[in-house]
């Protein structure tokens, strides 16, 4: 090596050290909340190899924050393409990027801006990967926008943790979500601490409007939109399949809803309301996403470096609200022993023995503790109803109209419920309601 190149290499090394001065200051000088091992050379070196996975709508913020936390090997999963309505907050995207894959554009941008970080983009759904894929990471951090996706990744990481013999199998899951000026960040140590399934009742599904209201007695603008969306669309089929992002399709629904609203003298229909209702749009702003994503990445940094106490084993959940002043509530959500994912006990299911199997299956969609849309159910030694395969579906269909009594099911009966959306079984036991209550 010549003197010049050696000198250049030294300058480069110096500038690299200088770049991370503030962060290294924290990593190398233990404070009152630092794990003593944090400053051992071996541990410090491990951080350089830390492999981390990010996913979901907070992706831009998460990638920026992870790269600025000196994580070097980051993967990102997102199947979405960029929409114009993302530009008010997903700050790595420009108008010219509309239509491109989010994961790809975001990864390229951050790799270019922050030297030395490697970001691998996957333009896919999280459900497209198996346990072998997820096992390569040490930590997963996500801001997914659907509860289904959250439950799926949670179940995946819990099953990896439970099957694993050594502590490396426990891959902390950090989850963030926002709505308007509010949000939450939580940390899960799969199989050890309260998991997303344990906390499912924090996301109770919205009460659906009864179909008869939509069909015959609308009172609100949303009822008219739902009528146009569900009933008029089915009858008239103006386009082969409904694309809720296609302005032409939304306009069709909007105009139908407007006509129906005029008929019933219902005020308040607009394009924005139509789109908001059919897509179930949740307001989202840059500042709230910044708060929640950074709170999540701060936890990832603390877990990976042990430079300070992280959320997880004691407090594990932070709620944030900025509507009325600023309010945070940081608390410990307890693990549930009867959690279908990380618990070991079957859960009680209060049922009326006279209800039909169909009613029971329908109720799984709205019970806050279940929220299953396509349930199949079996009791010990007895298949009650299966959605797939078709032959089994046909064979078990007659059971749907029978009552639980007629099917010979008893109080205390254990049943297993499955749903194609989740890679797990839900164990329940029947608790019969007393007559007349």
């Amino acid at each position: 090596m010549s003197v010049e190149t050696q000198r250049a290499a030294e300058i480069a090394a110096d500038s690299k050290t200088a770049r991370w001065k503030y962060l290294e200051q924290i990593r190398r000088n233990p404070g009152p909340f630092t794990n003593p091992e944090a400053v051992e050379e071996e541990f410090l070196a491990q951080f350089e190899r830390f492999k981390i996975l990010g996913a979901g709508g907070l992706g831009c913020e998460i990638l920026k924050n992870l790269a600025m936390s000196k994580f070097k090997d980051i993967h990102v999963i997102d199947m979405d393409t960029i929409d114009i309505s993302n530009l008010n907050r997903q700050f790595l995207f420009r108008k010219s990027d509309v239509g491109k894959f989010k994961a790809e554009v975001a990864a390229k941008f951050v790799e270019k801006r922050v030297k030395g970080v490697k970001i691998t983009a996957h333009n896919k759904r999280i459900q497209d990967f198996d346990d072998e894929f997820y096992k390569q990471f040490q930590l997963v951090i996500c801001g997914l926008d659907s509860i289904e996706a959250r439950r799926w990744i949670n179940a995946m990481l819990v099953s990896i943790a439970e099957e694993s013999e050594d502590p490396d199998g426990v891959k902390p899951l950090i989850d963030g979500g926002t709505e308007g000026f509010k949000g939450q960040a939580r940390v899960i140590f799969p199989s050890f601490t309260s998991c997303i399934e344990c906390q499912l009742d924090m996301h109770a599904p919205r009460a659906a409007v009864p179909l008869c209201t939509i069909a015959s007695i609308p009172r609100q603008p949303e009822h008219c939109v739902e009528w146009a969306h569900v009933i008029a669309w089915e009858q008239e089929k103006p386009f082969p399949t409904l694309d809720k992002d296609d302005p032409e399709h939304v306009t069709w629904i909007y105009q139908k809803a407007l006509k129906r609203a005029e008929e019933f003298n219902i005020p308040g229909i607009s394009y924005a309301l139509t789109q908001g209702t059919i897509k179930n749009i949740i307001p989202a702003i840059a500042s709230t996403n910044a708060i929640i994503a950074a709170a999540c990445c701060n936890e990832a940094f603390k877990i990976a470096t042990t430079t300070a106490t992280c959320l997880g084993f004691e407090n594990n959940y932070m709620m944030y609200s900025g509507n009325d002043s600023i309010y945070t509530y940081t608390f410990k959500h307890e693990k549930k022993e009867d959690c279908p994912v990380c618990g070991r006990e079957a859960r009680p299911l209060e049922v009326d023995p006279n209800m039909t199997l169909q009613d029971l299956l329908d109720s799984f969609a709205v019970r806050p503790e279940a929220q299953l849309k396509k349930p199949s159910i079996r009791a010990e030694g007895k298949t009650l109803y299966m959605q797939v395969p078709q032959s089994l579906e046909e064979q078990t269909r007659p059971n749907l109209s029978k009552s639980l009594n007629e099917l010979g099911l008893e109080n205390g009966q254990e049943v297993v419920v499955t749903d194609p959306a989740f890679p797990l079984e839900f164990n329940f036991y029947f608790k019969f309601k007393a007559e007349g209550s």
Binding site: S85, K95, P218, G268, S270, A272, N298, M318, N323
Partner: protein
């Protein structure tokens, strides 16, 4: 949100490109909030590592703030690249203000941004030469002399100021408002806003209800099962009154008894074996069979004494005066006009909704007439009075002048007292974050200090903290960061400051009063009035 959605255009039209881009935020602060943001002019005076300030601006450029200026005399160094995302290697050796401005402007072509390599000597020049700033954000530590210039500008131009300080895992920001800050559009939870006036029905509402229920027992199942919950309650309240010498059910026991009356009136011999509308009425008794009290926040508005002549002439205070007159005369607030959804025939529900809306309009016109009679109220628009009446119960005053915050000594005493309770109560009661604020403020003019230096400086101002274990920990934790920012912490605080700036500029939602402390180790905040 409702205003944005209620503007039904005559000709169906899709959204413009701008409405599409801003759709997710227009659902929060509507076109009026957006217009306020777009006409705002912000100044960021940056220092230290400067990340928190730039992260704040990022969150304001994206939603489309009108214009920003960055004043910062630093030249970009390697260390900046490890903490500030809005710089890259090509920026080394250049003006940090310039580089951050350029990279921030990429985020939104609709935003204007300029930069200035201001030091303490030229800050005054910048302040004098620029068009009026809507708000000034500055990050600590500042060069000596700068703070005085900023505060003087704030007083003179009545400009809200925000100070940010972020070091290691700790951070705080503090807002200085120029005077009492009233908010009308506070966006309360929708469930809190319902006011059905069941115990004070006006003649049209009573007539509507009586007409529907005059033959209630002979209605067929369909009609009986579609009586709106409001009508059911009004009818049985009349029945109750007749049996109770004209008195309404008020105590918990009476309401429980009244609820039983509703339950008994529910038909169960129909094919459904019950009635949804009666179930709704049953469920509404505890919440809606009551006179909503005038909340203390509105009383504060009514009883407010102006210290400032100029302030009392604003439209807010003129409408407040008219509303007070209305309340004094009628002993109730204007009807809001909103009616929650309830089981009913479409046409009946719409008629009932119009009974509420007509009354709301009448009340607004009553208040408007009073507004017009007050000096300075001649030109106040109907829309403003409407919003005021609709939100009357949720109007709030922030930073009321004349009601001075307690002294730091008193606050510390109070907070330490709470900590003693927390120590007994266990982890459910969080400890005070005031040591973080004090430790950060003790180093607001110097970037690095030893733990002992921090403790000594804090205890000079707050002797009560002498020997406090929590302060020792905080000082040690702060000291090890040597004045450096951690990106995540500055990003959290940058998000919070941006939310607050939006709330102040749009005059919607409720800003903090006035200091927010963030502990990135325990992941929680505390808001204190200091």
């Amino acid at each position: 949100m409702t205003e944005a959605l209620e503007q039904t255009p005559l000709i169906p039209r899709g959204p413009s490109d701008k409405e599409k881009k801003y759709d997710r935020q227009l659902r929060l602060w509507a076109a009026s909030g957006q217009a306020a943001l777009e006409s705002a002019n912000l100044l960021l005076i940056n220092s230290g590592a400067g990340t928190a300030g730039v992260e704040t601006l990022k969150n304001l450029v994206l939603p489309g703030i009108g214009k920003f200026t960055i004043a910062d005399d630093a030249v970009v160094q390697d260390v900046d690249l490890g903490v500030n995302f809005f710089l890259d290697e090509s920026c080394l050796g250049k003006s940090r203000a310039q580089c951050c401005t350029e990279l921030l402007l990429e985020l939104n072509p609709e935003v204007d941004g300029v930069w200035n390599s201001t030091d303490s000597a030229s800050l005054q020049q910048l302040l004098d030469a620029s068009e009026a700033f809507t708000m000034i954000i500055y990050s600590l530590p500042l060069q000596p002399g700068m703070l005085e210039a900023i505060e003087a500008y704030g007083r003179q131009h009545r400009t809200p100021l925000v100070a940010i300080h972020s070091v290691g895992f700790y951070s705080y920001f503090r807002i200085t408002l120029p005077g009492t800050f009233p908010i009308v559009d506070t966006h309360p939870d929708e469930t809190a806003t319902t006011d059905l006036r069941l115990l004070a029905p006006w003649p049209e509402l009573s007539a509507f209800s009586n007409e529907m229920t005059k033959d209630i027992d002979n209605l067929d199942h369909h009609e009986h099962g579609h009586l709106p919950m409001v009508v059911i309650l009004l009818h049985y309240l009349d029945v109750w009154k007749q049996e109770h010498d004209g008195a309404y059910p008020t105590s918990y026991e009476e309401k429980t008894e009244f609820r039983q009356l509703i339950s008994n009136a529910t038909r169960r011999d129909n094919p459904e074996g019950g009635e949804e509308n009666f179930d709704e009425a049953f469920a509404a008794v505890m919440k809606h069979v009551s006179l909503p009290p005038v909340p203390s926040s509105l009383k504060q508005v009514f009883d407010y004494e102006h210290k400032d002549e100029q302030e009392s002439k604003s439209s807010f205070w003129i409408i407040a005066e008219a509303l007070k007159q209305f309340y004094t005369e009628h002993q109730c607030l204007p009807v809001t006009g909103s009616l929650p959804d309830m089981k009913a025939q479409s046409s009946v529900y719409i008629k009932l909704q119009n009974v509420y809306k007509d009354k709301a309009r009448q009340d607004v016109n009553d208040v408007l007439a009073r507004v017009h009679k007050l000096s300075g109220g001649e030109n106040i628009r109907l829309a403003e009075v409407e919003l005021f009446c609709k939100n009357a119960r949720f109007i709030k005053l922030i930073n009321t002048t004349g009601d001075a915050p307690p002294s730091m000594t008193e606050i510390i005493e109070l907070e330490l007292g709470r900590d003693e309770i927390a120590a007994i109560a266990g982890p459910e009661v969080p400890t005070s974050l005031i040591p973080i604020y004090l430790a950060l403020s003790a180093s607001s003019h110097a970037s690095a200090a030893s733990a002992d230096e921090i403790i000594t400086a804090v205890c000079q101002k707050a002797p009560a903290l002498e020997g406090n274990e929590r302060l020792t920990q905080v000082a040690q934790e702060l000291s090890r960061a040597a004045g450096g920012e951690l990106h995540n912490i500055s990003a959290v605080i940058g998000g919070m400051v941006a939310q607050e700036v939006i709330k102040i500029i749009t005059n919607q939602y409720v800003p903090i009063e006035n200091t927010c402390i963030f502990d990135g180790i325990e992941s929680r905040c505390q808001v204190l009035r200091l």
